[in-house]
Each structure stands twice: as structure tokens, then as C-alpha cells.
């Protein structure tokens, strides 16, 4: 009957929506390539570009030596904008640029060095497009849009041979 079909349709719709959302949030198994990319991105965040110095290991932001760095977990930027900020830095702030050719042409915010003048961002560690892409993927997989970091996040980042994560154990 009509009402049953309606209920079934509604149920199917709900099930579809639930499945769609679940798959978005679930830890779908990564391809080996994707897993490598995340590790690569983490290594750059942690060591090569040393982003953690200002943004903290869990990207929750910080103050002090290293400047006043935003929480990346709370960013409203999409992946493209995020990559642009890493590449080009943020003029007038302490966020460095990581594309060594930034501001030599108009690739950054349509501005050259002359255009940006005194607001020229700081020079950071030189990263290739592939490296920047890996950092973005790592942060979007592990930090962006997630609440407070957890003990597991900590162990994933630091390993278990250090006391670093003990304060986070509940």
C-alpha cells in the first residue's frame, strides 16, 4: 500500500544516508599509496618543515617562541585554500611560505614581492608541490575538523617509547 511504500522509501533513504555518512567517517582501509602519502605528510609536518613547532604536534595551535599559530583542527579552509597558505604563507602574519618561488610571479594571491611589500611572509622550509599535497592530506585525515586530540592520536604521532602521551591517558 502507499503508506507502506512511503515508509519503505523513507527507510531506504535513511539507510542510504546513514551508509553515506558512515562511509565518510569510517576508517575505510587506505590504499598502500595513500598510507604512504599520509606518513610522508606526517614526517614533513613533524620534522622537515617543522610545522609542529608553532602549530603543535596535534595542530591545535600555540603561542610563544614560534609565534601565535592558529589551530588547524578548527580551520574553515578547504584543501585548496589550505595548500595555498602552506605554499604562500600569510602576508602580515608569522605563517611562512614554503614554495621557494612564491612571490617571484603572481602564483600567490596574485601578488609579487613588490605587491606584498612589507607584509612579505616569512621564508619557511622549501617544499615541493608533492610534499605540500602530502601535508594537506595528512592534516585533513588526522586533524582538521576533529575535536580535541586523543591519546591514540598522540601515540600515532610520537610512538610509545616516550612518556610524551602519558598525561593524555585516561
Amino acid at each position: 500500500m502507499k503508506s507502506t511504500r512511503l515508509v519503505l522509501a523513507a527507510a531506504a533513504l535513511l539507510a542510504f544516508l546513514a551508509a553515506a555518512t558512515a562511509s565518510a567517517r569510517a576508517q575505510a582501509p587506505l590504499s598502500p599509496e595513500d598510507a604512504r602519502t599520509l606518513e610522508f605528510g606526517k614526517e614533513i609536518y613533524k620534522i622537515k618543515a617543522n610545522c609542529q613547532f608553532c602549530h603543535k604536534w596535534d595542530a591545535s595551535g600555540d603561542t610563544g617562541y614560534g609565534g601565535v599559530a592558529l589551530s588547524l583542527r578548527k580551520t574553515a579552509l578547504n584543501r585548496e585554500q589550505f595548500a595555498e597558505v602552506i605554499k604562500c604563507g600569510r602576508p602580515g602574519t608569522g605563517m611562512p611560505y614554503h614554495d621557494q618561488y612564491a612571490y617571484t610571479d603572481k602564483r600567490c594571491y596574485g601578488m609579487t614581492r613588490d605587491d606584498v611589500g612589507k607584509n612579505m611572509p616569512l621564508l619557511g622550509e622549501s617544499l615541493s608541490p608533492r610534499e605540500i599535497d602530502a601535508v594537506v592530506k595528512y592534516l585533513f585525515a588526522k586533524a582538521v575538523g576533529r575535536g580535541e586530540s586523543t591519546y591514540q592520536d598522540c601515540v600515532d604521532f610520537w610512538g610509545t617509547e616516550t612518556r610524551q602521551c602519558e598525561p593524555m591517558k585516561k
Binding site: 620534522i47 604536534w57 614560534g66 601565535v68 622549501s126 616516550t162 610524551q164
Partner: protein, 591 residues
């Protein structure tokens, strides 16, 4: 009788067990430490002598011969691993040399005993690795992975690790005899300081002024490995100076006052002079109204019990991060015709101070940096900044020289918050009566961010989170100077401009030379009278440590640790350095 016999045997065994380690030939003793000038071939103490002079009587290498200086040998060290917030360990240590054996440390706290007696190569006799928890300690080190050196005591080497431990090592073998946990990284306390040994005590202090620590100085009894005393640099409730913390919320408990460079010691009065670090949070002075004693001060203390004899504060309610931990030389001088016993200090805040070391009274002060904008000068009687306002608890000093909650970005601050002189030590030549100051010149800006409270004070900041209330910005290219001051007047007699701000420190010798390491890897020798550069060698990596000199088999050598990739704040305005690699090397020079 049996009982007495037993008691006697027990007493004897107790005496044997607790007796001071018997002194043997070749042991480091207090007597030797008081008389280092009798052993000019050795460099036995961190600052050369207890008085902080970093001066050697050796003159085989002198103004006539230094042009022939060349590398004798080098030794590669470890300690460059990453950990915590740092990509690699750093080298800021001063070597110690005793009878042909050199003791150096790397940033993660490994101690190397290097036999340099052949003059042709350095053989690492032993290496002690403290197994520092690198992530745990490195995440709460503000400014690099550093270890400024060891001390010698009897037949032991006394060392520290960044994760807060003090070690007694067998000098012959490097085997650890005991370790003592002194600083606690769980509350963001670390150790980077070279221990000061006076009699049988090792004195160290805590680092962590950007992480909300309450500073302290601590003494370990080297006979037992136990704490002898601890004195907080920020006084507690009811203690003298606590009334200068006027927030009403006990913020003195996280007030800073760190201690990260070795004190000087005056045997005559049995007093050691400890420079004290910045107030915390560094750049939000509204969080901590009041003068904030004893941050940005010097304390005169008694080594046996840690009692404070007197204190003198350089920058009340310090809004700049003007740490004053660097060395306080002990010099006697004639001031205005009068013989004075002084303790002097080229302060981070840009002024040279001479104080009476008996009571801390101000004798004189004079600007030594090229540019200084935060105050027009010092009160001639008290030495206080002229624009210190006794009617207000939060000091503005020069308007715009620091940020505030209402106006977070400062104007131009000179000297920069790195100071006119940071930790890098100066040197004193008593024959020429000149104090050599390697300085950081130039300005920057600082930002204020309103500081939130720690969770133990009702707020949201957890232990081990940064507690700095803002940050600095590298707005200009900093440069450096080597200046020769008359310690009796503070007058700069001679100056030499340096391309880079100096972060390594000076060595002065009776060969009328001053040695300096530079950020771009240049190691230079200067004429002690004219400061003209007479010789240099470039090592292709930053030098962030002070040089020493020693001799073995009658031949003089100069030694320095080299290997430092400069920080991002430096390359901004010195992009030619941006591809510098770190390294971890000992360089030894001969002629």
C-alpha cells in the same frame, strides 16, 4: 666486649661507606678550582675561572702568530637526532679540558671524553648517553635542544640531560655512578645548564620560562646524590619579594624566573651570583602586575644552603622577555678613585651594569647596544629604568615598546627581545682591563596575546602547554658587534661591527686575542686592543658555542663545537643562510 666490638665494627663500616670519596692524584678538587691560574694548560671550569672571565694565560698563539692558525683535527659527534619540537640537537657547550682529556656534551646530553693529547687526532675514549626521552623533553624546550657542558668533581664528571636528570659519571670509564631526577618535564621543567660545582655541591637551575614553570636553583650533594637544598627564584607567599606579584591569584606559582646559564662564584665572600630569567608569561605583563621579583634579576646566594643574600632586579614587570641569566663577571675596579668589589653584567636589556657584590647596590650602568628605545636610561642612584613608574603595577616603559591586550602589536623594540646579549658569554682580559661583549644589535616587534590560566588556577592551560602570552616577529635584519668595555665605567672603548648577531660567545687570551664563532660558520680571531679581525676560518655550519683554549705537551690549541642550523627567525632577514645544514663537530686549531 662484644657489643662495643660490634658497634665499633658498625661505626667503622658506616664511616667507610659514608666517608667523602678519598681524594686521589688527578682528582678535581675545590682547591684546584680556586687556583685555575696555576694550571693554564687546562680549562677546568665552565667560564674558565669561578669569576667568569673566560680568559686564558696561554700566549703561544698571539697577535703575531695567529695568522698561521690551521685545523689540527676534528671529531664528529652525535646528538643531531630530532625530538619533540626540534629537527635536531644543537651544540652550545663549552668544552672542559684536563690534562689532555676533553669533555664535551651534545644537545641531547651525551658526554664524550676525548683524548686530545696527541695533537693529531681526538680519540673518543668513552661516550655516555643518558638516553634522554627526546619527545618528552623536546616538546617543552622553548629554544632548542641544548646542553651547555659538564663539570668535574673528584674523579667524576657531573652532567645533565634535557629531560631533567643530573649524573655522576666515572671520569675514567664514563660509567654512570648515580643519576638524580632534578627537573620534571611533566610540568615543563627541563635542564640545559652546565652544573656549577662548589666544594661537594653541584648547583643547577631549571629551564622553562615559556612554559609556566616557577624557577628554582637546586644543589645536589655529590657524595650522596641527594638534594641538599632548593631555592625558588620566585618567592612564595610570605617570602620577601612575593609582594611584588599583585594579581591576587597566586600567579607567582607560574611566574618564570628560569635559570639556564652557569653562575659565577666569589670565594672570598663565599657567594655565587646567579642571573635569573624572564617573568612568565613573557609578553603579557597585565597577567602579572607588579615588579615580579626575582624575574629579570641577579641573586647573590650562599652555596652551602641556598640562602639569598641579596637580589637586584634589572627590568621590573619585564614585558620584553629580557632574561638576565647570562654570566655575572666578578671584577675589582677603581670607580671614581675608589677601589670597588664589583659584580658586572652586560644585560639582555641593553645596559651594562656594575653592582657592589657585597650588597647589590647599584654602582653604575651604561648602554652598550647601538640602539635602545624602551627606556631613556637608568636612574643614576638606583639603576632603575628612568621611565619606571612606581605608581603603576604594569609598566608601559616607552609607549609602543611592547604590546598590550588593547593594542597587541608593539612598535619597534630595541634591542630586540633577543636582547643586546643573550646567553652567549663575554670574556674579560685582566691585563688589558677590557670586558669583551659579543652582542646582538638591531630591533624587532613583539605581540601580546592575553594569557589564560593554568588548570590548577581555574583556567584551561594544561601543564606542558606554552605559557608565553604572545610572541616576537623578525621585522629587521639583526647584526652584531664585538665591543670592548671598560668595566669601571661601562664605556665602550672599541667596537667592531659583525655581519651576524652573535650567539656563540667570546674567549680572551693573554696572546692578546679574542676568539668568536659566528652564525654563518666563521670562526675568527681578533686583536684584543683594536678588535680588528686577524684570522678566520669558515666551517660551513653555524657556530653556537663558545671557544676555549688549552695546551698539551707544551703546545697550545683552540677548540670549539660547531654545528647549528639557524632558526627560521634568522633566515628571514638573512636568506643567504637558509640552506645551512646542521652538523655536530668538534674543531681543534693549532699553528
Amino acid at each position: 666486649m662484644k657489643t662495643i666490638g660490634f658497634a665499633g665494627a658498625l661505626l667503622t663500616s658506616l664511616l667507610v661507606a659514608t666517608a667523602l670519596t678519598p681524594v686521589q692524584a688527578g682528582d678535581m678538587t675545590f682547591e684546584r678550582a680556586l687556583n685555575v691560574d696555576k694550571e693554564p694548560h687546562n680549562w677546568l671550569l665552565h667560564h674558565g675561572n669561578y669569576q667568569g672571565w673566560r680568559f686564558s694565560q696561554l700566549k703561544q698563539i698571539n697577535t703575531d702568530t695567529v695568522k698561521n692558525l690551521k685545523v689540527a683535527f676534528t671529531v664528529a659527534l652525535g646528538g643531531y637526532e630530532s625530538g619533540g619540537r626540534y629537527k635536531f640537537g644543537n651544540l652550545e657547550g663549552t668544552p672542559i679540558i684536563e690534562d689532555g682529556i676533553m669533555y664535551v656534551t651534545d644537545g641531547w646530553g651525551s658526554v664524550y671524553a676525548i683524548d686530545v693529547s696527541s695533537g693529531k687526532k681526538g680519540v673518543i675514549k668513552w661516550k655516555f648517553d643518558p638516553g634522554t626521552d627526546r619527545a618528552w623533553a623536546g616538546d617543552v624546550a622553548c629554544c632548542g635542544v641544548n646542553n651547555r657542558g659538564v663539570a668535574l668533581w673528584k674523579d667524576k664528571v657531573i652532567s645533565i640531560s634535557l629531560d631533567g636528570r643530573l649524573f655522576s659519571l666515572n671520569k675514567a670509564t664514563g660509567e654512570m655512578v648515580w643519576e638524580r631526577k632534578v627537573a620534571d618535564p611533566a610540568i615543563a621543567e627541563t635542564l640545559t645548564i652546565a652544573p656549577l660545582v662548589i666544594r661537594d655541591l653541584a648547583i643547577v637551575g631549571v629551564a622553562g620560562g615559556e612554559f609556566g614553570v616557577r624557577g628554582w636553583i637546586d644543589a645536589t650533594d655529590l657524595n650522596t646524590g641527594q638534594q641538599k637544598w632548593r631555592t625558588y627564584t620566585i618567592p612564595g607567599a610570605g617570602e620577601h619579594g612575593n609582594e611584588t606579584w599583585k594579581d591576587g591569584k597566586e600567579r607567582w606559582k607560574h611566574g618564570g624566573g628560569s635559570v639556564w646559564e652557569t653562575a659565577t662564584y666569589d670565594p672570598e665572600s663565599d657567594t655565587f651570583y646567579q642571573g635569573i630569567g624572564n617573568a612568565g608569561p613573557d609578553w603579557d605583563p597585565e597577567y602579572r602586575p607588579g615588579d615580579n621579583k626575582w624575574a629579570a634579576s641577579v641573586l647573590a646566594l650562599s652555596p652551602s644552603d641556598g640562602q639569598i643574600k641579596w637580589g637586584y632586579q634589572y627590568t621590573p614587570n619585564d614585558p620584553y622577555d629580557f632574561d638576565e641569566i647570562s654570566e655575572h663577571q666578578i671584577i675589582n675596579a677603581k670607580v671614581n678613585g675608589q677601589d670597588r668589589k664589583l659584580v658586572v653584567h652586560a644585560a639582555r636589556n641593553g645596559f651594562y651594569y656594575a653592582l657592589d657584590r657585597a650588597n647589590g647596590s647599584f654602582v653604575l650602568g651604561k648602554q652598550y647596544v647601538d640602539q635602545l628605545t624602551w627606556t631613556p636610561g637608568l636612574d643614576p642612584k638606583t639603576g632603575r629604568p628612568l621611565n619606571y613608574n612606581p605608581n603603576t603595577d604594569v609598566q608601559e616603559y616607552a609607549p609602543g615598546s611592547h604590546g598590550s591586550r588593547k593594542g597587541p602589536a608593539s612598535g619597534r623594540l630595541c634591542p630586540s627581545h633577543y636582547g643586546g646579549k643573550n646567553w652567549e658569554p663575554g670574556a674579560y682580559n685582566p691585563e688589558l682591563n677590557l670586558l669583551y661583549i659579543p652582542s646582538i644589535e638591531g630591533c624587532n616587534t613583539i605581540d601580546t596575546v592575553e594569557q589564560k590560566d593554568f588548570v590548577d588556577q581555574g583556567g584551561t592551560i594544561k601543564p606542558r602547554e606554552r605559557f608565553a602570552g604572545g610572541g616576537g616577529r623578525p621585522t629587521e635584519r639583526l647584526y652584531g658587534s664585538l665591543k670592548a668595555l671598560d668595566p669601571a665605567t661601562g664605556e665602550t672603548k672599541v667596537r667592531q661591527r659583525l655581519e651576524y648577531p652573535n650567539y656563540s660567545g667570546a674567549l680572551a687570551t693573554a696572546g692578546n686575542l679574542v676568539f668568536l664563532g659566528h652564525y654563518d660558520g666563521t670562526f675568527s680571531a681578533h686583536d684584543a686592543k683594536t678588535l680588528q679581525e686577524l684570522w678566520s676560518f669558515n666551517m660551513g655550519t653555524g657556530i653556537n658555542a663558545p671557544a676555549v683554549t688549552y695546551s698539551v705537551n707544551g703546545k697550545q690549541y683552540i677548540a670549539v663545537l660547531a654545528g647549528s642550523r639557524q632558526s627560521l627567525n634568522v633566515w628571514q632577514n638573512a636568506p643567504e643562510l637558509k640552506n645551512t645544514s646542521t652538523a655536530s663537530m668538534l674543531y681543534v686549531f693549532e699553528q
